[in-house]
C-alpha cells in the first residue's frame, strides 16, 4: 500500500476485569490497514475477533476493557483518546455493521429516525439528516424509502434490517468500516445480496474495510489480506492468494481443509479439526493450537511469536516445508 497506515493495532489485549484479577481474552493482537484496504479477520466463534473489533471502536462494556496495546487511527492513539473525542470519531470516521440485525436496531424508534440520528449526532441539521436518510435507504436498496423510513424495525425482515444498519454505518461516509459477521444471522440467499451491497458501497466510498467472519469462503473474493485468529492470538496474517495457496500455519491449513469443496471428490464431504479451542480460563503452555495441531513438536512448548513468512507472517515454529503430510 505504501504511505501511512489508516489503522495500526499493536499488541492489543482485552480482558474481563474483576476484583480477583484480569482474565485476558485477546492476547496482544496486531493489525495494519492502509486507506481503502480490505482485510478479513477469520477465526472460530470465541477466537476474540468480535471483541477485538469492539475494542477498536472502544465499544466494550464493563467488565470488558482494553488492558494493553495501542490503536492508531488516522495518526491518533484511540486508547488514549478522551471519550468525547472518541465519540466524534465513532460513526463519522469509523463505523460498524453488527452481527444480528434482529437486535441491533432500537425497536421503539422509526427506521428513518435511527438513520438520521447517525447524522444529527455529528452536527448535521435535522431536516438535512432526514432528507439524506431517505437517500441512504434508497442507496441500500430498501424499496419505497418515504414509507419505510416511517416503519419500525419489527415491520422489517432480517435482510431489510441489516440494510438499515448498513445505511446507519455509511451515513457519515466513514474512512473505516468494520463488518462484524454481517451475514451470519441471515438466510443464505440474502447473505450474498448483503455481501455484494457492502462490497459495492465500500468501493464507491473508498472505505477501508475489516470483514470479520468465521467462514473463509465467504470473503475470499472480497479482501486483500486475511488475518487468522485463534484463541485470542493472531496466528497468521497474509495476502489472500498466499493464504489460500500456501498457508503458513497448521491452523490455517485446517480451516482451508474444512471448507466444503464440491469439485473435489477425493476429500470427505466434511472435514473437522479434532478437539475444541481453549477457553480463556484454560492454561495452555506454549502454542495455543498445540493440543489440536497435527504438526506439534517439542519446540511448540514455547509460545511462538509472529514471524515473517514470504509476503505475510505466521506464529508457528515449524515452516510448511517441514510439515508432515
Amino acid at each position: 500500500m505504501g504511505g501511512p497506515a489508516l489503522l495500526e493495532v499493536e499488541d492489543l489485549a482485552v480482558a474481563a476485569r474483576s476484583r480477583r484479577g484480569d482474565l485476558e481474552i485477546v492476547h496482544g493482537v496486531g493489525l495494519q490497514l492502509g486507506p481503502g484496504e480490505t482485510v478479513a479477520v477469520v477465526g472460530e466463534t470465541g477466537s476474540g475477533k468480535s471483541l477485538t473489533m469492539l475494542a477498536l471502536m472502544r465499544l466494550l462494556s464493563p467488565p470488558l476493557g482494553i488492558t494493553r496495546g495501542r490503536v492508531t487511527f488516522d495518526g491518533r492513539d484511540l486508547t488514549a483518546l478522551p471519550e468525547r473525542d472518541m465519540r466524534e470519531l465513532r460513526g463519522s470516521q469509523m463505523a460498524m455493521v453488527y452481527q444480528d440485525p434482529m437486535t441491533s436496531l432500537n425497536p421503539l424508534m422509526r427506521i428513518g429516525a435511527q438513520v438520521a440520528e447517525a447524522m444529527t449526532a455529528h452536527g448535521v441539521a435535522k431536516s438535512e439528516a432526514q432528507r439524506r436518510s431517505l437517500e441512504l435507504l434508497a442507496r441500500v436498496e430498501i424499496p419505497d424509502p418515504e414509507r419505510t423510513a416511517r416503519s419500525y424495525p419489527h415491520e422489517f425482515s432480517g435482510g431489510m434490517r441489516q440494510r438499515a444498519v448498513i445505511a446507519i454505518a455509511l451515513a457519515m461516509r466513514p474512512k473505516l468500516l468494520i463488518a462484524d459477521e454481517p451475514t451470519t444471522a441471515l438466510d443464505v440467499t440474502i447473505q450474498q445480496q448483503i455481501l455484494a451491497l457492502v462490497n459495492e458501497l465500500r468501493r464507491e466510498l473508498g472505505m477501508a474495510t475489516i470483514w470479520v467472519t468465521h467462514d473463509l469462503g465467504v470473503v475470499a473474493r472480497l479482501v486483500d489480506r486475511v488475518v487468522v485468529m485463534y484463541a485470542g492470538h493472531v496466528v497468521e496474517n497474509a495476502p489472500v492468494d498466499q493464504l489460500f495457496h500456501a498457508p503458513q500455519h497448521p491452523y490455517t491449513r485446517s480451516l482451508l481443509a474444512a471448507l466444503p469443496n464440491p469439485a473435489d471428490d477425493s476429500r470427505p464431504a466434511l472435514v473437522q479439526i479434532p478437539g475444541r479451542p481453549p477457553l480463556p480460563t484454560d492454561v495452555v503452555e506454549g502454542c495455543p493450537f498445540r493440543p489440536r495441531c497435527d504438526q506439534a513438536r517439542e519446540a511448540c512448548r514455547v509460545r511462538p511469536t509472529l514471524q515473517p513468512r514470504s509476503a505475510g507472517s505466521a506464529a508457528c515454529w515449524v515452516p510448511p516445508a517441514e510439515w508432515r503430510p
Binding site: 469492539l54 471502536m57 465499544l59 462494556s61 471519550e83 465519540r87 466524534e88 470519531l89 465513532r90 460513526g91 463519522s92 463505523a95 460498524m96 453488527y98 444480528d100 437486535t103 441491533s104 436496531l105 432500537n106 425497536p107 421503539l108 424508534m109 440520528e117 447517525a118 449526532a121 455529528h122 419500525y152 419489527h154 415491520e155 444498519v165 446507519i168 451515513a171
Partner: protein
Amino acid sequence: MSHVQTVLGHRVTRRVVEAALTLLGVAVLVFLMLRVIPGNQITASLGTEASAALTPSQLAALRAYYGLDQPPVVQFFGWLGNVLTGNLGISQRTGQSVLDMTLAALPVTIELAILATLIGLLIGIPLAMLSASRPNGARDAAGQLVGLAALSVPGFLLGAGLLALVSKYFRYNPSAQGFARFLEDPGLNLQQMLFPALVLGFGLAAPIMRTGRSALLEVQSQDFVRTARGKGVAALQVQIRHVLHNALVPIVTMTGIQFGYLLGGAVVVEQIFSVPGIGRQVLIGLQQKEYAVVQSTVLVIALSFVLVNLVTDLLYRLIDPRVRAS
C-alpha cells in the same frame, strides 16, 4: 379492515366485562366485610350499650330506619340497584348524598395522587439512571440506599416529622387554615398539598427507582444500545432516547399500580395533613359504620383503579409500536 374492527370490538367487550366482574366482586367483598366487623350504625352513634338502654321497640324502629332489619341479600341488591341508577346513598352524619361527598373528595385525592406521582417520578427515575449508570459502584450504592430508606420509612413518621419540623422551626403550617380547594385558592392549595405529596412521592420513588434500575440495566446490555453508541450519539442521549425509552413499560406498569393505590386515598397521610380526600371519607364512614358511605366510596375507588389500568394499557400502546401491531 372489518376483521381488525371485529378483533378490536372483542377486545373492548372483554375489557368491559372484566371490569364489571371486578367491580361486582369488590362490591360483594366490601358488603360482607362491613357486616362481619362488629358493631353497626346504631352502636356507632349511640354507643355499645345502646341495646341495653333502648327498649326493644325503639331498637326495632332504629333497625328499620337504617334498613338493618332486612335480610343481607335484600340490603345488598337494594344498595346495588340504587348505585346503578346513580344513587350512592345518603350520609346520616352529614345529611349529604354520598355522590356529592365523593364528587368533592375525589378531585382532591386525584390532585394529591398526581402531585405525588410526579414527585415520585422526578426522584425515582434520575435515581434509577444514576444507579444503573455504574452498577455496583458507589453511585449505585448511594441510589439504592436512598431507595431503601424511602421504602422503609413509614409515611406517618415522615409526615408527622415533617409537619412538626416546619411548624416548630419555621412557624409554617399551611394546613392550619381550612382546606383550600385548588380552584378557589391555587397558591394556598398547593402549599397545603406540597407536604403530603412529598411524603407520598418519596414513598413512591422507592418502587419506581427499583423497577427502573433493573429495567435500565436489562436494556443497557442490549445490542441496539451498542449500535447507538457506535453512531457516536452522546452518552446521556443514548441513556434517555434509547435506554430509558425501552425501559418505560415496566416503569409505567409500576407507576400505574402505585397511582391506583393513591386513588384509593392515602388514609394516613390525608389524616395527618387534614386533606379532605377520599381516604378520609372512607375512614370516617367506617368509624360511623355508615354502610352506604363506605360501600359506595370503595366502589368508586375500585372503578378508578380499573380506569387507571385501562389508561396504563393505552400508554403501552403509545410507547411500544409492537403492542399497537399485535
